[in-house]
């Protein structure tokens, strides 16, 4: 096993975790406003998946996308400044938490209408295919998307036109405050893939190495078959749907049980078992990431708000 790679995955997940803990604090202090949807508990999905992709593969995500953005760009400053609504944010303070984008790194959002971005991912893949480019689009969405028309239409077109997309369902078992069994007529979202049809697989989304391997396999298949692939990552969000959701619909026992499967702990344990690093070395990584996040917070705090005379910019090209 590639020790440097494994430690890098750990570093990335720790960055996501510390970033969002800091964001939650800033939200409580009123420095971040609007909606803030935390990804804590699901980090292995984004980090594992995006580590398996080429830097030229496209990423399309939802409003719960801080970790996807960090896994692709590594730019905690631009992300935090965006959450703070500052001019130095990745979209100049226009988007906020739900709308992170970075065209230069092929990070294509940051979309806040559930399921609405799934056809967009298909269309990005259409462009790659049209131009004969090898790039694949990774499309992330939650289990709550699986009943939306746009979700089905996006998958139907991707299959019909054989578009290079890996659809990655992050099944955290709750569509906002409603458990899956009350909102979905099937147990596994990936069942839906069969009808379009497309190849599918279920993966443990709490294990970053499994996640990475599954996405590597999926990308291989897409590049080989020129057809889309559907991956369902089973995972759990430790926090509420957003900062304003106390998540009373889950028992404490249930949350605690899942927290036993914290993706960071799972990887830490594996690293120690394999002798890749000591607990002290992992603690150092964590300390380093806290410093990166602290720097990002200070950067965000000290940055200027967007200039008022730019408010009309960019409505049209």
């Amino acid at each position: 096993m590639d020790a440097a790679l494994v430690l890098d995955l750990y570093r990335q997940m720790a960055l996501c975790r510390r970033f969002e803990e800091a964001a939650a604090r800033a939200y409580q202090q009123g420095k971040i406003r609007g909606f803030l949807h935390l990804y804590i508990g699901q980090e292995a999905v984004a980090v594992g998946a995006i580590s398996a992709a080429a830097p030229t593969d496209y990423i399309v995500s939802t409003y719960r996308e801080h970790a996807h953005y960090l896994a692709r760009t590594g730019d905690a400053r631009a992300a935090m400044a965006e959450l703070f609504g500052k001019a130095t944010g990745c979209v100049g303070g226009r988007g906020g938490s739900m709308h992170l984008f970075d065209a230069s790194q092929r990070f294509l959002g940051g979309w806040a209408i559930v399921g609405g971005h799934v056809p967009i991912a298909a269309r990005v893949a259409f462009a790659s295919k049209y131009r004969g480019e090898p790039d694949v689009t990774l499309c992330f969405f939650g289990d709550g998307s699986a009943n939306q028309g746009a979700f089905h239409e996006g998958l139907a077109l991707a299959s019909l036109w054989r578009l290079p997309v890996v659809f990655i369902c992050e099944n955290n078992m709750y569509a906002m405050g409603t458990p899956l069994y009350r909102t979905l007529s099937v147990q596994d979202v990936s069942v839906r893939a069969k009808g379009y049809p497309m190849e599918s697989e279920i993966v443990n989304g709490d294990d970053v190495l499994e996640m990475r391997e599954a996405v590597r396999h999926a990308l291989d298949r897409v590049r080989k078959t020129n057809e889309p692939f559907f991956l369902e990552a089973k995972t759990y969000r430790f926090r509420g749907h957003s900062m304003s959701d106390p998540a009373k619909y889950r028992t404490r026992e249930e949350v605690e049980e899942w927290m036993q499967r914290d993706p960071l702990s799972i990887l830490a344990q594996r690293i120690e078992t394999l002798g890749i690093a000591t607990p002290e070395q992992l603690a150092q990584i964590d300390t380093d990431m806290k410093a990166v996040v602290q720097d990002a917070v200070e950067f965000a705090e000290s940055s200027a708000v967007p200039a008022p005379d730019t408010v009309l910019d960019h409505v049209e090209a």
Binding site: G34, H99, A175, V305, P306, V311
Partner: protein, 339 residues
């Protein structure tokens, strides 16, 4: 005449009371939407309603706006009276086809064979830093469509009275609330309180300028009117309450007294409700006007997240006040610039 007894309720309580009273009265009414049941409503408007009416009448739906809006329309075609809650009107755009192509057209294209007693309701407009996809005031989009009624209440009492009428109406009604107003308190009359659709209300009487507005902007307008009164300017604030049908007579009556018209509208200026109000007034009362009508609206941009920019985009009491002062020649018009 003695004033009827009343209680102070929040907006959300008033809306809930309307739904509960109507559901008690008429078993054909059902409520459906995302998180309306076990979660007690994303904004707690439907709190306690699942416990009261059970899951056959209070239905949690998946995130499938086109689906559940369509289910509601089908149910209304054959005799139920659904209330469909959108978690926000921004999400109604996912179901726009159902509302515009199906709900609005049905009665006309069946030569009146069907009536469609259905209410679509939920919060809309901006609500503090929710960004471009969650901050849209969509009343102009829906008011454009013949076959839909559009209601935007500004105070709890109106919310209750108008929602009861909307539920009893045999047409599809788009009922638009505001996240930022659910906790707003106001007197609500005891007992049966039903207000007719299509009737505007003077929220503040005045002789100098008519401010036509609705929903959340009523409050910005009232604040501006209070400030202007300090300078001896008496502004009349006319709350449309219902956008469609539009109470043109109330607008014209007010303008015939004040001879000046300002419309305060959250949402974009282009082809919006404010433009319709100006069209009505210039067509029907052109000679009454002492000044060209003025619109105070959102800036013509998607909503930015950053709070300082958002505050520039949404009409404020200051912008309303400045528009009135400019119209009256009390200040020079602002130099051409953003805003």
């Amino acid at each position: 005449m003695s004033k009827p007894e009343s209680r102070v309720l929040t907006f959300r309580e008033a809306l809930r009371e309307a739904m509960v009273e109507e559901m008690e009265r008429d078993p054909s009414i059902v409520l459906m939407g995302e998180e309306v049941g076990e979660y007690n409503g994303a904004y707690k408007v439907s709190e306690g309603m699942l416990a009261r009416f059970g899951e056959t009448r209070v239905l949690d739906t998946p995130i499938a706006e086109a689906g559940f809006a369509g289910v509601g329309i089908g149910a209304a075609m054959v005799g139920l009276r659904p209330i469909v809650e959108f978690m926000t009107w921004n999400f109604s755009l996912v179901a726009y086809d159902q509302l515009v192509n199906n709900a609005a057209k049905l009665r006309y294209m069946t030569n009146g064979q069907f009536k469609l007693p259905i209410v679509f309701r939920g919060p809309g407009g901006s609500a503090h830093a929710l960004g471009a996809q969650h901050s849209q005031a969509v009343e102009s989009l829906y008011a454009h469509i013949p076959g839909l009624k559009v209601v935007v209440p500004s105070i709890p009492a109106d919310g209750k009275g108008l929602l009861k009428s909307a539920i009893r109406d045999d047409n599809p009604v788009c009922f638009m609330e505001s996240e930022t107003m659910y906790a707003l308190k106001g007197e609500v009359p005891d007992g049966e309180h039903v207000l007719p659709l299509g009737v505007a209300d003077v929220k503040r009487a005045g002789r100098d300028v008519t401010l036509v507005t609705w929903g959340k902007m009523v409050h910005a307008s009232l604040t501006a009117a209070g400030t202007l009164a300090g300078d001896g300017v008496e502004v009349e604030v006319l709350d449309l309450r219902t956008i469609r049908p539009l109470d043109t007579e109330a607008i014209l009556q007010s303008v015939r007294r004040t001879h000046r018209l300002v419309i305060v509208q959250e949402g974009w200026p282009f082809a919006g409700v404010a433009a319709e109000v100006i069209a009505v007034v210039t067509a029907e009362a052109f000679d009454e006007l002492d000044a060209p009508p003025v619109r105070v609206t959102n800036l013509d941009v998607p909503m930015p997240y950053a709070t300082n920019l958002e505050q520039l985009v949404v009409p404020s009491a200051e912008r309303v006040g400045a528009a009135v002062r400019t119209m009256l020649g009390l200040v020079a018009p602002p130099a051409a610039k953003a805003g």
